[in-house]
């Protein structure tokens, strides 16, 4: 939370300076050794990986090996790439399953060794692997660990690895999806060590005095998106965009047929948001009109020759298929959209919110989780799901939905079971959806 009194000066300080101040405070806390743990909350695109890399190199340079615990193999490889580039002199050991095959982007670094056991990686300054792999290491203890994407990590996974380190830095995005299970878990509700909590939640419930820092600037989200995402999904903490409206622009190089799809694409290019609204109707999850609209919008961005101008590419860089993502709530919706995209859309990422966590694109198309539904459910209202979908883009986001979501929200029976001693989760999914929807109300293109 921003401290009172600092609010006045906040905009006078450049985003870079503001972010640097927080990062320095984090590094000071780490170096001081005064805390067993340090938590850093990072809103979407706030430089979480940069912080992890910097902290890892800093700690490793002090002479003691550092563990890094990430959640997926892809996240591990992403971090290795950045670590190896930033500190080629540091020996990095990648702890992997026997079936892991290093992709070229990893194999090309001479400083990176890959092995299935820790003993084979003796001498590495940085030891990195997934939480699942670290859980198989049952001996040894290291002075420091960095736990990445700690809000995606389940408490039980932390329990299995926490014995390996004395102190740790926990980094993650509290606005993303909560961990879930396929089995009934209410048995543990209310326990401070409920295994269904996130790693950060369990840590803070047992160690409430640990310092919690918040990265204040999103370098990904454009000036058009940061305030909306902050208000809807981070209502108490907030953050701002690291770039100004003038620094980012999306230009459509070619003209289009001038239909409503063009209208939505142009609106998104101009304002950063568009809601492509289909006529109200109760539909199947795999609503063909909606899935087709998602595909059409994505393809139209390619056809219109969109070029993204930003602080990274002041001369502009074309928005190619790999810079576009389509996000859904369900896997069958993603499958249906992939089918609609066909060959023309090859390279466009289509995936569920769960799998889009932590990823970044220039333009995203979102199939609204409540589109065409007759009733909302807790699953579809989960604020983290919408937050992930609405915060993957650097330039523009187009939401596709059937009209009538406001009524659907109004009719939602708010009657979730309540367990004693479970901290209330904020933001409430209903409120988050409502805030987000009212923002989009000014960006509607009615499909036709």
């Amino acid at each position: 939370m921003r401290e009172k009194g600092k609010d006045v000066t906040i905009d006078a300080v450049s985003p870079a300076a503001e972010a640097e101040r927080v990062v320095n405070a984090v590094m000071d806390d780490l170096r001081s050794g005064g805390h067993r743990g340090v938590v850093v909350d990072s809103p979407p695109g706030a430089g979480k990986s940069t912080l992890v890399v910097r902290a890892a190199i800093d700690l490793a340079s002090a002479g003691e090996p550092v563990l890094i615990v990430a959640q997926t193999n892809e996240q591990v490889d992403d971090l290795i790439e950045r670590l190896a580039a930033a500190a080629p002199h540091l020996a990095i050991g990648r702890l992997s399953a026997a079936t892991y095959r290093a992709p070229e982007r990893i194999a090309r670094w001479p400083s990176v060794r890959i092995a299935t056991t820790v003993t084979q990686l003796d001498g590495a300054a940085i030891l990195i692997g997934t939480a699942a792999k670290w859980a198989t290491v049952t001996e040894g203890s290291w002075p420091w660990a960095i736990v990445d994407e700690a809000y995606q990590m389940r408490s039980d996974a932390l329990l299995r690895v926490a014995g390996r380190f004395a102190r740790a830095l926990f980094v993650g995005d509290p606005g993303q999806l909560d961990p879930f299970s396929t089995v009934e878990t209410s048995r543990w509700a209310g326990l401070t060590w409920d295994p269904m909590q996130s790693a950060v939640a369990v840590l803070l419930r047992h160690n409430p005095d640990l310092p919690v820092h918040r990265l204040p600037v999103s370098w990904r989200l454009p000036a058009s998106a940061a305030p909306v995402v902050a208000e809807a999904f981070y209502p108490f903490t907030g953050f701002r965009s690291g770039t100004t409206a003038a620094e980012r622009s999306l230009v459509l190089a070619k003209s289009g047929p001038g239909d409503t799809v063009d209208d939505a694409v142009e609106r998104a290019a101009a304002t950063g948001w568009a809601l492509y609204e289909l006529p109200p109707r109760y539909t199947l999850r795999t609503d063909r009109e909606a899935t087709a609209a998602c595909a059409r919008l994505a393809l139209r961005i390619l056809e219109r020759g969109a070029v993204a101008f930003s602080e990274r590419a002041p001369e502009g860089s074309p928005v190619t298929a790999d810079r576009i993502a389509i996000g859904t709530a369900h896997r069958d919706q993603a499958a249906a959209i992939r089918k609609e995209l066909g060959v023309a859309g090859e390279g466009i990422t289509v995936d569920t919110a769960n799998r889009l966590q932590g990823r970044e694109f220039d333009v995203t198309i979102v199939l609204h989780p409540l589109s065409g539904r007759r009733d909302a459910t807790a699953f579809h209202l989960e604020s983290g799901r919408l937050c992930v979908l609405a915060s993957r883009h650097r330039h523009a986001c187009i939401v596709v939905a059937r009209a009538g979501i406001a009524d659907l929200l109004d009719a939602y029976p708010s009657w979730e079971p309540v367990h004693l001693n479970v901290p209330v989760a904020f933001p409430d999914g209903w409120e988050a959806h409502h805030v987000f929807l009212s923002h989009l109300a000014s960006a509607v293109t009615t499909a036709g």
Binding site: S186, A189, G190, R281, Y282, T283, L284, T286, D287, R288, G372, R373, R374, D375, D407, D410, A411, Y412, P413, S414, W415, E416, P417, V418, H419, L420, N421, P423, V424, F426, D428, W430, E431
Partner: protein, 396 residues
């Protein structure tokens, strides 16, 4: 609007909503029938009975007795047991607690035979006096800057529902300590090893939110900061298998937001009423000795004039649900929200079957769901045939 609602209700006095019935409004906020009937204060139990679909609302006297015994135990000796539980379980620093029972002071008539406030339904004659007494007591506490802690038993507060003020007599006390108020909700379900039934806690949380909101209105009304009432409610329940009280803190912020939202919608009920036939009424045409004379068919027609949004969950929360269920026979809604969702929102059983076996040509907007239903029909038949079981027959 008030007049309009009175006409809908007929000459009976309005059914006083309790914290429980106000809370129940959040169960199916999409139902217009319920919104209108509740706003008008129609006695749905009597209505349902006359319609021939009586509600199953009986309460066991063992449950009532237990609830009363628990409340009595907790509040005996100036709430000694309660104060002990608050101290022990919540670490509240309560050096000395004064106990003010508004009912014992004669300010509130003993409207309720069960001994638990608010369990009744009729507007209690003493509610207005109770409200005045509650106001006065709270004004006094705040006015003289009371230092110590005070427990206020049997408070009566008020809340505006659909443009009309209603008195709220919750199963709760107000704790005043350190210049702030907390709602202390008494419930007789057990907390066993720190765990309680999640549905019951959920109901308690939303009912408590009604109390918090009403208490905030009251403070507002007497010119004090409404935020002095904490959104954190203390839930007091029997511990384990005993009758000793234990306490837990319930953070009701989510429920408060929900409730505010739904009350705000009910305040806009005028638009809904405007669309109804002007002479619509649910008057039972009672005789002098209280027997209804309105023909059930006529009454049913009146009820049908307002759309319902029946779901099977209504059976547990709404007094006229059995009527609505009967009306919903043959619809997919009667089979539950999830079933309807999986059938792509197709409304009737007949349409689903027709689309599934191909005998019904789908309109444009149902082409997709028809395709899915035909596939489902095919794979189901294939699987049953492969196993030698045939659909649509008796399993024996």
């Amino acid at each position: 609007m008030r007049e309009r609602l009175a006409r809908l209700r007929g000459p009976l006095p309005p059914r006083q909503p309790t914290a429980r019935t106000i809370a129940a409004l959040t169960r199916n906020p999409g139902c217009r029938r319920r919104a209108v009937l509740d706003s008008a204060g129609v006695d749905k139990q009597r209505l349902a009975a006359r319609l021939g679909f009586p509600a199953r609302v009986g309460q066991s006297r063992f449950a009532l007795a237990r609830s009363a015994a628990f409340a009595a135990r907790v509040t005996a000796d100036g709430g000694a047991e309660l104060v002990r539980a608050l101290r022990e379980r919540l670490g509240l620093d309560l050096p000395e607690v004064r106990y003010v029972d508004l009912r014992a002071e004669g300010a509130v008539s003993d409207a309720d035979a069960t001994g638990v406030a608010g369990a009744g339904g009729e507007r209690s004659a003493g509610a207005e006096e109770g409200y005045r007494a509650t106001r006065a007591t709270i004004s006094r506490l705040l006015g003289r800057g009371e230092r110590g802690a005070v427990l206020v038993a049997h408070p009566v507060m008020a809340l505006e529902v659909a443009g009309q003020p209603w008195y709220v007599e919750p199963e709760a006390l107000l704790l005043y300590a350190e210049g702030r108020f907390r709602v202390i909700a008494l419930k007789s379900f057990a907390i066993i090893d720190g765990h309680a039934d999640a549905a019951q806690v959920s109901a308690a949380a939303i009912e408590s939110a009604v109390s918090v909101l009403a208490a905030r209105h009251l403070l507002d009304d007497i010119g004090h900061d409404a935020q002095l009432v904490s959104p954190e409610v203390v839930l007091v329940c029997p511990r384990d298998f005993s009758i000793d009280p234990t306490a837990a803190v319930l953070d009701c912020r989510t429920q408060l937001a929900t409730l505010r939202r739904h009350l705000a919608r009910l305040a806009r009920i005028e638009a809904l009423l405007a669309a109804l036939p002007p002479d619509l009424t649910f008057d039972l045409a009672l005789t002098a000795d209280g027997a209804p004379t309105r023909p059930p068919e006529e009454l049913a027609a009146a009820v049908r004039a307002i759309d319902a949004r029946y779901t099977p969950e209504c059976l547990e929360t709404c007094d006229i649900a059995y009527f609505c269920r009967h009306e919903a026979a043959g619809t997919t809604a009667a089979l539950g929200r999830a079933v309807q969702e999986h059938l792509g929102g197709v409304e009737t059983v007949a349409a689903v079957l027709g689309l599934a076996d191909g005998s019904l040509l789908p309109p444009e907007e149902q082409k997709e769901v028809a395709e899915l239903l035909r596939t489902a029909h095919r794979v189901r038949a294939e699987a049953l045939a492969a196993a030698g079981v045939f659909g649509e027959e008796r399993p024996r």
